[in-house]
Each structure stands twice: as structure tokens, then as C-alpha cells.
């Protein structure tokens, strides 16, 4: 007889699962001693306050690696290096010192009109001697 294929039940709606786990966590925490509860509340507030600083972008792996290496070399947080780089870019772009036109190619995506196509040597950052 052929073995019956067992199927798992579909998972919860993601929003329901997140809400439920948050409520369960709060319920568990409410039974902890006061000091422990205060410590967890502080930790959560710290994480919460950092959330607005987070951003997610796709970067070429070698560029990301260059940032990591430089940050380690200078013993700095990589986020601060990236902040400096982006702030300088925005200033220069707003002052008309950067022309994106030479990188622009029409995009086939319904979401965007353009893609930026970079020459290889721009992305492969050369290390300062």
C-alpha cells in the first residue's frame, strides 16, 4: 500500500502570529520579578528607539565588503561610515556636482522608470595605497 502523504496544516496569518507571540511574551513577562520586568522594558525601549534608524538597501557584495573592511581598519561603526558617505552624496547631488544621467537606463519594471547601471570600476573600490 502506498504510504499516505501527510500534510501539515497551514500556518497562522502572519499578523495573527506576530500579535499572539507579542501578547504571550507580555504575559510571561508580567509574571517576572519587578526588577527583571523593568530591565526588559528598558531593553525593549532601546530596541524600539533604534528601529527608526534602520534601513535596508541592496548593495553589491564587494562594496559592502569594502565598507566592512574600512570600518574595521578605522575601528569605527560601519553605519557611521555609510552615513557619512550618503550625506556627502546627498549634498553633492543637491549642489549639482553629481550627474546621474550617464548611468541611467530605462527600466522594464512597472514600479520604476529608470535603473542606474554602474561601470565595473566604480563598484570595485580601489584601496588607498
Amino acid at each position: 500500500m502506498a504510504e499516505r502523504k501527510l500534510e501539515r496544516r497551514a500556518a497562522l496569518d502572519p499578523a495573527v502570529a506576530d500579535l499572539l507571540s507579542g501578547m504571550q511574551q507580555r504575559q510571561t513577562e508580567s509574571q517576572l520579578p519587578r526588577k527583571e520586568r523593568e530591565r526588559l522594558t528598558k531593553e525593549r525601549a532601546k530596541i524600539q528607539s533604534r528601529r527608526d534608524l534602520r534601513a535596508t538597501y541592496d548593495l553589491p557584495p564587494n562594496l559592502r565588503e569594502s565598507i566592512r573592511v574600512l570600518a574595521e581598519e578605522l575601528r569605527l561603526p560601519a553605519s557611521q561610515l555609510v552615513t557619512l558617505a550618503l550625506a556627502r552624496f546627498m549634498n553633492e547631488y543637491n549642489n549639482g556636482q553629481i550627474d546621474l544621467g550617464k548611468y541611467k537606463q530605462p527600466s522594464r519594471s512597472p514600479r520604476y522608470d529608470w535603473n542606474l547601471i554602474f561601470p565595473e570600476d566604480l563598484i570595485h573600490v580601489k584601496k588607498k595605497k
Partner: protein, 257 residues
């Protein structure tokens, strides 16, 4: 293809009318051609749009007037078939008719809408059965207390009986309403629902006094309190959990198949 949603729970006061009104208005704002039908003799759908109660359903079923003449256009993309105490006469007429369980199905079959939302009365009568038979998808709003959750089980039992007569549903969803995440009872009932019904449970609608005010002003939530917690849900980190906007998204997934 037109989808018919029934909003049902034999328990009263669980938010069926508010949910039907808010989601119907939300669909219309997304340019989904929507018809909202009041199957409840209380006739509260008309009041929710600032209109007087009128015997729309009675005219449709008992006087054989065409849907095009009975419906009221309440806003672009949204029509309403009103109800009032004459809906009781509809029940009597249906009881005396042949093929009585499918009268509503037959009346709605050729309607040119993308979505039809049936706001059902908290009862188990012939009109209720008609609504459940006409429906492709049943939305069961429920408070998270033992009595209301029992109402969910009753509806599912009735649906199972209807299924045995040959009707098939595309699905059903349970919508927790008046949700108060700070109480232990809510957590216990929510865990229980999630364990029993898994992905049939939609994100909940937070308890919100603005909902009651909205009805008093004859407005919908989209007009009166579009940023209230009942609309927006809970903010957890960066994501919003629950609320009518998110539930509208789930409904669109059903409509788009």
C-alpha cells in the same frame, strides 16, 4: 467574477454591521463595484450611511422590483439594499415559497458587482440560511469571550449542514473584534481560536470607542476616524497588526482569488 461575502454570527453585538459597512466602503474606495445588503430587520446599514431606514429588501423579494430600482447608490462604487422591520415580512414570504433556501442566490446571481456583502441578523431563520447559501465566503466576526466564540461554532455547524446539501464554500474567516490585548481572557480565547482554526483567523480589530461615535454620526470609519486604532491596528515596531485596513487586504486576496 463576483464574490458574495456573508457576515454572520448568531450572537448579537459582535460587530457584524460595523465590519460589513467598513469593509464595503473600503472596497468601494479601491474601485471594487460593491453591493451591501441588509438582511437584518433592525435596518442599521442605512443609518450607518446617514440614510433613513427603508424596505429595500422587502421591495426586492416580496414586490419583485428589480435590483436596479431598489438599490441606493451611497457613494461611487457602493450600492446599498436597505432593510427595516418589513424584512420580517420577507422571512414569511420566503417560508411560503418554493425553492425557499435559494431565493437570495437567484436574486443576486446576475447582479453586476465585483463583491456583494450580506449583513446578517443575529438569528437562525430562513433569511439567515438564504444568506449562508448565497455566500461564497463567510466572515464570522466575534468578540473574544466564551459566548461569542460559541456563536462561531454554531455558524460553522450550520455551514457544515448546508455543505451536506451540495453547496460548497470557497472559505471562511473568523474576525476577532472588540480586541483588547491587555486582558488575560482575550489571550486565552485568541490562543484557542488560533489553535483550532489556524489560518482561518484574520487579524483582529482593536477595541476602539471611535467605532461607537462613528455610528452615531452616520459616517463610516473611513470618513470619521481613518487613523483610529480600529482602522490602523496595533503598532508593533514598524509593522501594524490588525485593524480594518489590514482585514481589507485579506478580503482583496479573497476577491482576487
Amino acid at each position: 467574477m463576483m464574490k458574495i461575502f456573508a457576515f454572520a454570527n448568531q450572537k448579537g453585538g459582535v460587530g457584524k454591521t460595523t465590519t460589513a459597512v467598513t469593509l464595503a466602503d473600503g472596497l468601494a474606495r479601491l474601485k471594487i463595484r460593491t453591493l451591501l445588503v441588509d438582511l437584518d430587520p433592525q435596518g442599521h446599514l442605512a443609518l450607518s450611511f446617514g440614510l433613513e431606514k427603508s424596505p429595500g429588501l422587502y421591495r426586492l423579494v416580496c414586490l419583485d422590483e428589480p435590483l436596479s430600482e431598489v438599490k441606493v447608490a451611497v457613494r461611487p462604487y457602493l450600492d446599498l439594499v436597505t432593510g427595516d422591520k418589513q424584512t420580517e415580512k420577507v422571512k414569511r414570504q420566503i417560508t411560503l415559497s418554493d425553492f425557499r433556501e435559494t431565493i437570495l442566490t437567484d436574486l443576486l446571481r446576475d447582479a453586476s458587482y465585483d463583491a456583494v456583502l450580506l449583513d446578517m441578523a443575529p438569528s437562525l431563520d430562513v433569511l439567515h440560511i438564504n444568506g449562508l447559501i448565497a455566500a461564497d465566503w463567510v466572515v464570522i466576526p466575534t468578540r473574544l469571550d466564551a459566548l461569542a466564540v460559541d456563536g462561531v461554532k454554531e455558524i460553522l455547524t450550520t455551514m457544515a449542514e448546508i455543505t451536506r446539501t451540495g453547496h460548497s464554500y470557497q472559505g471562511y474567516s473568523i474576525l476577532p473584534t472588540f480586541f483588547d490585548r491587555t486582558t488575560r481572557e482575550t489571550l486565552i480565547q485568541f490562543q484557542d481560536l488560533a489553535r483550532t482554526f489556524s489560518d482561518h483567523v484574520w487579524p483582529p480589530i482593536p477595541q476602539d470607542t471611535r467605532v461607537r461615535e462613528t455610528a452615531a454620526y452616520g459616517k463610516t470609519m473611513w470618513d470619521y476616524s481613518p487613523n483610529s486604532s480600529a482602522m490602523e491596528g496595533y503598532l508593533e515596531g514598524r509593522q501594524k497588526l490588525g485593524g480594518y485596513r489590514q482585514v481589507l487586504g485579506r478580503m482583496m486576496e479573497v476577491i482576487n482569488g
